[in-house]
């Protein structure tokens, strides 16, 4: 795996470079919107990859609730964090495309609003994981992730069931929808490039989460070791005081 990783990094860089060439130069210019439509080759693959990452987070959260393994929890965290990064790109490139085409940066239609809600759900998931303390944090986060994932099909179906400013589905839509085959090629190359890039990021974040857990465990072991090395409390000479009450006071606890 260690020897495969640098090779995978090179393949990802090559894929992203070729995908850039496809999106910027090889794909034909769209008749109505002109060159600004090329934002599509970054916007759409980022949305699809974000959905995939949130799906991975959903599966890992179920896995964690069933098995309570550290790996499942680390995978859930990594996929959610990278998913938020990709969803951020969608929310930034969308308005940059909307402004010259629609004349507005943002509108509260079903697709845009549900995407923003999706982003907020996963940001709150990360905030919960970062700042909550206690043994139940991972369980609560997994439960939030499972319910949060319900927004993904809502985002996907929003342009099919609601009248929106966002265009109706171009891919898998009704009659008259569809893409020029050369545009499809550019979409698929960009999808492959950003999917590979997302896998690299998830791997980096996953290993970081496991390493941080191991470090935390080592810190706890060391603290326990130090505590065991401490000399035992002296027996009290005063009447009515037990050695237990002494040690409890030393630790800063009130004896109950």
């Amino acid at each position: 795996m260690k020897r495969f990783y640098p090779f995978f990094v090179l393949v990802t860089l090559a894929l992203l470079s070729y995908a850039f060439y496809q999106g910027m130069f090889a794909a034909p210019t769209e008749a109505t919107m002109g060159d600004v439509q090329r934002i599509f080759y970054y916007h759409l693959p980022h949305a699809w990859v974000a959905f995939l990452l949130f799906f991975a987070n959903f599966l890992a959260s179920i896995w964690y609730l069933v098995r309570r393994t550290e790996r499942a929890d680390a995978l859930a965290l990594a996929s959610a964090e990278v998913g938020v990064v990709f969803c951020t790109v969608v929310l930034v490139t969308g308005p940059l495309w909307a402004r010259p085409v629609w004349g507005i940066w943002w509108t509260w239609d079903a697709r845009l609003t549900s995407t923003l809600v999706l982003w907020l759900i996963y940001v709150s998931y990360l905030v919960l994981r970062r700042f909550a303390t206690g043994a139940q944090t991972q369980v609560l986060a997994a439960a939030l992730a499972i319910f949060g994932f319900l927004d993904v099909p809502i985002v996907y179906l929003s342009i099919r069931y609601f009248r929106t400013q966002h265009p109706q589905p171009v891919i898998g839509g009704g009659e008259g929808s569809g893409l020029d085959p050369r545009m499809w090629i550019a979409v698929l190359w960009n999808l492959a490039g950003f999917l590979a890039f997302a896998l690299l990021l998830v791997r980096l974040r996953y290993r970081l989460a496991l390493a941080e857990n191991a470090l935390e465990a080592a810190h706890a072991d060391r603290a326990l070791g130090n505590l065991e090395q401490m000399p035992p409390p002296r027996a009290s000479t005063q009447a009515g005081e037990s050695p237990e009450s002494h040690s409890a006071l030393k630790l800063g606890n009130e004896p109950r």
Binding site: R38, W97, A211, L215
Partner: protein
């Protein structure tokens, strides 16, 4: 074209910032490991 370039630049800025954030976390992890190894 201005918006197209802005979108591509924004995309890679977001990814770049995330990579920097990960690098910072890895650096802090290495420092904490070194600290832990000290007797």
């Amino acid at each position: 074209m201005k918006f197209l370039y802005l979108a591509y630049i924004a995309t890679w800025t977001i990814h770049g910032l995330y990579l920097l954030y990960l690098r910072g976390r890895y650096q802090r992890l290495r420092e904490e490991r070194k600290e832990l190894e000290k007797p």
